[in-house]
Symmetry: C2
Subunit: 317 residues, 2 copies
């Protein structure tokens, strides 16, 4: 029996750290990447290439990327809010650049100081830049759509707006589309409806989902997304995270809880949950004031746990 | 368009209160019942009929039931761990008696000091008692199975053990079966597998599910249970709860979060979420030391919320 694989991308180093006031030292970031890697994580969004004056937390992006690239088979992603950032990230050698494209105009202006349509134009320039150097041919250009399920400013985000931006992002050259629930508005049926709609428009292009657990819906949403064939999810160790330009957003879903659920459902993540939980110690030491979340870390991993015993009873998919 | 209805049964007055050291005054219990009723809740498990020396928190069960019965259309349930308790509950006039029948022998011994099979025999005597008086003919006898998805003592609970007890409980005269994840072991695929298995054995007899959010899986589990046609769920206001004889168990899933999710999915609960959240004030005043949980209460209800706007866009099921 082979299990279905699911990719869990750790985004705490970017989405988590950008939302807390304390700056994590570069050495601690490297230690975090190493610990995640040693726990089996093979996809990490390690940094955001933004001007240090806007986000001092990310001033060491190049060094962090350089370290991450030393780890075999680690897929290294960076967020790039503009062309300059994309150029720096491409030069640094990342495997994937993600451009944050908000569906909500107000959120887009707050987050990247561009309208969604202006951001699509910037995104097209990023794609053209990627194509301009053969050395970058293997770098994936991701349209990271944000406020897909709701916006702290405008509230409801119409599904037709999402469709419009998705189609424009593909026209502009997106290799793949990632959907972000930036502020935890998503609910299970909304996730199902939107994925159904998008799959009929652009089958196979939406590859990953990014849930925040603001209203406790992240894992329920994940169950629905799995039903719709999504096999890549973002999460943050200890639920670290949020969005500095989105009032009310709390952290991403905790990586430990997501991995626990996925494993219990028979999915192969390649991740050692115990090592993952132990890696929280790095956060406790390096950013002691940041609130840490997560059910599994609190309750402990069940010894001879239900997931493993279930899987020996044939619960595999 | 008619929405599908889902019953949310508030169990905080029983499962919640039995797990905290502070005793809630009878008047506060009545106020809680009134507030829940005014928020639209029509199913409440109001008490447990146990000897007061074992559970002083429930010494006022008769008074609490008497008050609940004054509210029109409120369906009043009581937990009854033995025949004596069932007799008292029937005499008090409850609409449903629930007998806690553990699948796990160790948990059963800790909880009711009987093996599962001995508890089934007791349950059969409860059913016979119910049948002995025409005045009680309308009272539903529920087999409330506990540790269905795992046990703090034995760990994994085999599905064949659940099947065996379900069949014995039906033989013993259960009108319906409720499945309890007493200590938050359940995970989405486990829920789906067990409901699939049981539906092929005893279609239509499993009517409700009872999840604890110990490991953060309760809402994800609920999504799966909804897929399998379950339309009744237990929950506790503010996630109050646990099980005194199950180490590590934290509260039931928070009623507010469950209702939020169900409404966002287009289900009709009849519950006013704002009033429900406001009713937490009763707990803050009456049991100030009890930890209160819940995402929706923390984040606030979205004004012009996504669920309502979505439902005006036709999200109904």
């Amino acid at each position: 029996m082979t299990k279905k694989k699911v990719v869990v991308q750790e985004v705490g180093l970017r989405d988590g750290l950008q939302s807390i006031p304390q700056i994590m030292p570069t050495e601690a970031k490297k230690a975090w990447i190493d610990a995640a890697y040693n726990a089996g994580i093979r996809h990490i969004e390690v940094a955001s290439f933004v001007p240090p004056r806007l986000l001092p937390q990310m001033a060491d992006a190049e060094q962090v990327v350089a370290h991450a690239l030393t780890l075999p088979e680690l897929r290294v992603t960076a967020l790039v809010p503009n062309l300059r950032g994309a150029e720096n990230a491409l030069k640094a050698g990342v495997h994937r650049v993600v451009a944050p494209i908000s569906i909500s105009e107000q959120h887009s202006l707050a987050n990247v100081r561009k309208t969604p349509d202006a951001m699509i134009e910037e995104f097209q320039r990023m794609r053209e830049l990627r194509d301009s150097e053969s050395a970058w041919a293997q770098t994936t250009v991701v349209a990271g759509l944000s406020t897909v399920f709701g916006c702290p400013f405008q509230g409801y985000v119409p599904e037709q707006d999402v469709c419009r931006i998705v189609l424009k992002a593909l026209d502009a050259g997106a290799d793949v589309i990632a959907l972000g629930d930036t502020t935890g508005h998503a609910t299970p049926r909304h996730v199902g409806r939107l994925l159904q709609l998008l799959s009929s428009v652009i089958e196979g292009k939406v590859t990953s989902l990014h849930f925040h657990d603001t209203r406790g819906m992240a894992l329920a949403n994940t169950v629905v997304a799995l039903d719709y064939g999504i096999r890549e999810f973002d999460s943050s160790l200890a639920g670290l995270g949020g969005c500095p330009n989105a009032p009310g957003a709390t952290g991403n879903v905790a990586t430990e809880d997501l991995v626990y659920m996925l494993q219990s459902m028979g999915f192969e993540t390649g991740i050692d949950l115990r090592r993952l939980v132990e890696s929280r110690d790095i956060l406790k030491r390096a950013v002691p004031d940041a609130p840490l979340y997560g059910y599994i870390a609190r309750e402990g991993i069940l010894d001879g746990s239900v997931p493993q015993q279930l899987s020996s009873h044939g619960v595999q998919s």
